[in-house]
């Protein structure tokens, strides 16, 4: 059995999650990475996407997160994000709308501008939201 460590997901509005997990997969800016117990201390920004963790007993849960940071310590991982959504908080049709409107705005936005980055993030977040809800259905 894998050893457990503490995972905390914190947003400005609430402490969303604080429990022991076996492993967590996080969307870092340099690519997705997995964290197990005794990971080297690490600080990295996150990009919007899907975060999934395996809780005790092997159950997998996914969340959609927006931009933020991960602080990884050997026995504790802290995820700081500006917003996070669990599967049952997401309305697929609203997420799809968000996705199409963000994509549309992105196509007309100036490349590499602050606005474009913001819209790209919005697109990624909307995609992650849809992906998270689809996982629950199957």
């Amino acid at each position: 059995m894998a050893e457990k460590f503490l995972l905390e997901i914190v947003t400005p509005k609430r402490l969303l999650f604080s429990e022991e997990v076996e492993t967590v997969t996080v969307p870092g800016v340099d690519g997705e990475f997995g964290v197990l117990m005794e990971h080297t201390p690490l600080i990295t920004p996150l990009k919007p996407g899907e975060l999934s963790y395996v809780s005790e007993g092997g159950e997998v849960t996914s969340l959609a997160i927006s931009t933020g940071y991960a602080e990884v310590l050997p026995d504790k991982t802290t995820i700081l994000v500006s917003s996070a959504f669990t599967a049952d908080e997401i309305d697929v049709s609203v997420a799809a709308e968000e996705l199409s409107s963000a994509e549309e705005a992105l196509s007309s936005a100036e490349k590499d501008s602050v606005e474009a980055t913001r819209l790209e993030n919005a697109v990624d977040l909307a995609k992650a939201k849809i992906a998270v809800t689809e996982k629950v259905k199957h």
Binding site: E8, V10, T11, P12, K13, R14, L15, G28, V29, D30, T40, P41, L42, I43, T44, P45, Y69, E71, T78, L80, S82
Partner: protein, 291 residues
């Protein structure tokens, strides 16, 4: 001498006022509960990001980042947070007074003010200050996007040499009865307790890994840190405002009660006097007829 009618009218008017202050107290109590929940929920995030910034600045002593150290002073931007509405005791005037004191105590600094909340907007509009921002709060609960906009604005001003330091003045929520006016330095980013840090450092000797690299992490983390501190201040201020208003309205209701009691006493005395006078007149008249 006030007639009975006059006194009655005053009692009625005080009673009306009391009804309003009582209602406002109840509303504030409800709003306070929500604001308090929000600030309690937001504190872990703000604390965590401070922790991360603290451990970062420990690990990157060799890296100099403009937001950490500018090596220049002279121009200061003050973010002043008040409420939109009044009738909350000394809450707003305490903050505005603290801002004035800060400006008067540092005459060598060139101060510009970034006002949030209608009270501070109006206050500084009428005076000869350099105002960089005016934002009323609105009736809805404060949103994170407000902190984001203000954060971006002050960082822009800082990097474009419009300001060299940024401070924020707000009322920190201690309890419903007490608020503490806080003047806090936002930029350049200073970590709160140097001594505590060095202790922590020995405990975490391994050092951190940064992805992609230290500068990259600092570039995105420091602006975030500033935003979060502003957001926390906004929430603290909102909870303080409702607490202050609740306390103010409670004492206003109590004062109204006292005044009603006093007026009722005067009214009764006057009524008694009038009755006595009338009796005396009747008796006097009867005596005269007898004679």
């Amino acid at each position: 001498m006030a007639t009975l009618k006059d006194i009655q009218r005053r009692i009625k008017s005080v009673k009306n006022t009391q009804q309003i202050t009582k209602a406002m107290k109840m509303v504030s109590a409800a709003k306070l509960r929500r604001a308090q929940e929000e600030i309690v929920a937001a504190r872990p995030y703000a604390d965590k990001i401070s922790d991360i910034v603290a451990s970062l600045s420990e690990n990157v002593k060799h890296v100099t980042h403009p937001l950490l150290n500018k090596g220049k002073t002279g121009k200061v931007e003050l973010i002043i947070l008040t409420s939109d509405r009044g009738l909350c005791g000394g809450f707003n005037s305490n903050i505005l007074r603290a801002a004035e004191r800060f400006i008067n105590e540092n005459p060598e600094l060139e101060v510009s003010v970034n006002t949030i909340g209608r009270r501070s907007v109006d206050y500084f509009k009428r005076r000869t200050y350099n105002v960089t921002g005016q934002r009323p709060l609105g009736t809805k609960r404060p949103e994170y996007s407000l902190a984001e906009t203000v954060g971006r604005e002050v960082i822009d001003n800082y990097t474009n040499d419009i300001s060299d330091e940024t401070y924020i003045i707000y009322g920190e929520f201690i309890s419903a009865m007490t608020q503490e006016t806080v003047v806090k330095k936002l930029l350049p980013v200073v970590t709160e307790d140097e001594e505590k840090e060095s202790e922590e450092k020995s405990a975490m000797d391994g050092g951190f890994l940064f992805e992609p690299d230290e500068e990259g992490v600092l570039d995105s983390l420091l602006p975030k840190y500033v935003e979060v501190q502003i957001f926390r201040a906004i929430l603290e201020s909102s909870a303080s405002e409702h607490g202050a208003r609740m306390t103010a309205m409670e004492s206003a209701s109590r004062n109204a009660s006292d005044m009603i009691d006093k007026l009722t006493l005067i009214y009764n005395r006057a009524r008694q006097a009038a009755i006595t006078k009338e009796l005396m007149e009747i008796i006097g008249g009867a005596e005269a007829l007898k004679g």
